[in-house]
C-alpha cells in the first residue's frame, strides 16, 4: 500500500466521466451565456454580460424565482413538518400500540408516490385537477357545488394546485428517513422524561427533534436543492401557465432553449440557477458544520 500514486488509476474513470459529462458541458454552457445564439448553425454574436443584464430586468425571471420560494414551501417546509409529526406518530404511537406491521404498511403507503415516474404522477394530477371532467370537480358537482374552481387554469390558483401535488409527491421521503432516525434514539431518554412527568408533546420537542437533527438537516438540504431544480411537474401540469403564473427557473431555461431558440439566454438562466443552488447549499453546509461544532 506504499505506492500512493497507483491509487489515481482507480480515480481515473470517474475523473474522465466527470470531465466529459459535467465539467466540460457546464463550462460550455457558461460560455454560451455570453453570446446571443439561436442554436444549430445560426451565428454566434458576442454579448458580454448583456444576457445577464437583460435577466436582471426580466419580469418573468423574477417571477420564476418568486415561484421557487413557493416550491420550497411545498417541497421542504410543509412535507418536513408533516413528515416529522407522522414519523413520530407512526414510530412511537401506532407502532407501539397497534404493532409494527400496521406502522410499516402505513409508511409504505405514504412512500408510494416517491417511486412513481414523474410522467405518470403528472398525468394523474393534471387529470384529477382538470376543470371539465377532473375527479375533484366531478365530485364537487355531485355534492352540489355549482361552479367549481378551475384548478390549473386560474392564474390565482394554479400555483397552489401544483403545490398540492408536490406535497403529495414529497411527503413519503421525510417520513421514511425520520422513522429510521427515530429507531436509533436511545429509549432511556424517553423513559427518563416519562419519570419526570413529561407528556408526549414535551418529549417530542425536547428529545425527538434534537436527537434526529442530522437527518433533519439532510432532508432539508436535499429537498431544498430539489425544490430549486423542480421541472417536470411544471412542464406536465401547467407548462408555466396560465399567464406565466407557475413559471420556475428550470422551466424558463427549458423554454428558452427548446421553444424560443434563445440558447444564449437559456444558458444564462441555467448558469444563474446553478450558482444560486451552489450558494444555498454551501451556506447550509457551513451553517451545519458550525452548529455541530458549537453543540
Amino acid at each position: 500500500m506504499r505506492n500512493k500514486r497507483g491509487w489515481w488509476l482507480y480515480l481515473l474513470p470517474i475523473l474522465i466521466g466527470f470531465t466529459a459529462i459535467v465539467l466540460i458541458p457546464f463550462v460550455v454552457n457558461v460560455v454560451f451565456s455570453f453570446f446571443r445564439w439561436k442554436g444549430g448553425m445560426a451565428p454566434f454574436r458576442w454579448e458580454g454580460l448583456g444576457n445577464y443584464d437583460a435577466l436582471l430586468h426580466d419580469e418573468n425571471f423574477w417571477m420564476s424565482f418568486r415561484n421557487s420560494i413557493f416550491m420550497i414551501i411545498a417541497i421542504v417546509v410543509i412535507p418536513t413538518m408533516i413528515g416529522i409529526l407522522l414519523a413520530a406518530v407512526l414510530y412511537d404511537y401506532i407502532g407501539k400500540r397497534f404493532g409494527s406491521r400496521i406502522a410499516a404498511f402505513l409508511r409504505a403507503t405514504y412512500y408510494l408516490p416517491q417511486i412513481l415516474p414523474i410522467a405518470v404522477a403528472g398525468f394523474i394530477w393534471s387529470w384529477v385537477l382538470d376543470s371539465g371532467n377532473g375527479s375533484i370537480n366531478t365530485f364537487l358537482q355531485k355534492v352540489g357545488v355549482a361552479d367549481p374552481p378551475d384548478w390549473l387554469g386560474n392564474p390565482d390558483l394554479a400555483l397552489y394546485s401544483v403545490m398540492l401535488m408536490l406535497v403529495w409527491l414529497q411527503i413519503g421521503y421525510p417520513v421514511v428517513i425520520f422513522i429510521a432516525a427515530l429507531s436509533r434514539v436511545d429509549p432511556e431518554l424517553y423513559e427518563a422524561a416519562e419519570l419526570d412527568g413529561a407528556g408526549w408533546w414535551r418529549q417530542f420537542a425536547a428529545i425527538t427533534i434534537p436527537q434526529i437533527r442530522p437527518e433533519l438537516f439532510i432532508v432539508v438540504l436535499t429537498a431544498t436543492v430539489g425544490a430549486l431544480k423542480v421541472f417536470a411537474p411544471i412542464l406536465i401540469l401547467t407548462g408555466g401557465g396560465p399567464e406565466g403564473s407557475t413559471v420556475v427557473p428550470s422551466y424558463y431555461a427549458y423554454r428558452n432553449f427548446f421553444e424560443l431558440s434563445q440558447v444564449g439566454y437559456g444558458s444564462t438562466i441555467a448558469t444563474v440557477m446553478s450558482l444560486v443552488i451552489f450558494a444555498v447549499a454551501a451556506v447550509m453546509l457551513i451553517w451545519q458544520r458550525r452548529s455541530e461544532r458549537s453543540a
Binding site: 482507480y10 466521466g17 459529462i21 407522522l86 402505513l106 403507503t109 371532467n133 403529495w168 421541472f231
Partner: protein
Amino acid sequence: MSAPTAPPAAAARQNRVSRTPMQWLVLGLCAVFAVVMLAPFLLLVLNAFKSGADYSSGGPVAWPKSFTLDAFRDYMSMVDFPRALWNSILISTVVAFAGTGLALISAYAIGIGRVKGSAVILAVLLLATMVPHEALIYPLFYGAQETGTFNTVWSVIIIFTVLQAAFGTYLLSSVMSTVPKELLDAAGIDGAGRWTILWKIILPVLRPTLSVLVVFFFIWTWNEFYIPVVLLSDASSQTVPIALSTLRGQHSIDITTLNAGSLLSLLPTLVFFLIFQRTLSHGVTAGSIK
C-alpha cells in the same frame, strides 16, 4: 407459537386491552391520510378498465359498468410498449450496475487509499450531484449528436452512470473509511494486492450498502425525465415514462387510454418496489450517512 404464558405475549395482550379511544382516533387519522395518499392511484385503476363511452357518460368517479381491457389494447397500439420497456430495463440495469461499480472503485481510492486532495474531489462530486441538468443539457445535446449517441440509449446510459456514480462515490467513501484497518493490514501482509483486496475484502463487507445503491440507481434512472426527454426523441429509443408523456401531447387520445398507459408505466416500478421494499427502507437511511 402457542405460548400464552410467555411474558412478551402477555404484555402485548395487556397493551391491547388498554387501547384508549384517543389511540383509535390517531390510528383512524393515519388511515384517512393513507386513503388520501392512495386516492389518485385508486382513480387510475378504476378508470383504466372502463370503456371510453362508459367514462364519458359516468365520469371519473363512477364505478365501471363493465370491466374491459380496451384501453390497454388502445395504448399498446399507439405506443411500442415492449420496446419502451426493454429500453427502460436496459438503461436502468446497466446504469445501476455500472454506476455502482464506478462508485466502488472511485470510493476505494478516496476512502481507503486517501489520495491527496480527497476532500476536494468529494466536494466537486457533491457539486455534480447538485448541478441542475438545465446547465448541462445543451452541450450534452450537441455532444450526443457529435458522438452519434443521440437518440440511442447509450447517451443516457453514459450520462447517468457518471451522475449516479458521483453520488455513490460520495456515499461509499464515508462508508469505506469505517472498514477496520486491521482487516486491510492482515490482507496486505498475506501479500494481497490492491485489486485483490478490493474484490476479496471490501466488496463482501460493503455488499449490503452496494445492493442498496443498485436498487436506488435503478429506480432513479427509470424515473428520470429531463435528460431522456431531450436526448431520446425517437420512439425507438424512448423509455417507459417518456413514451407516455410524448403521447399525452396529442390531444385526441381517450382519457381511459392514458389511464391504462399510466398504469402500465407505473407497474414495473411498483413491482420492483414491492420486491425490494426492505432494501429500500434500509437504503433511504444510507443517504443520511455522512
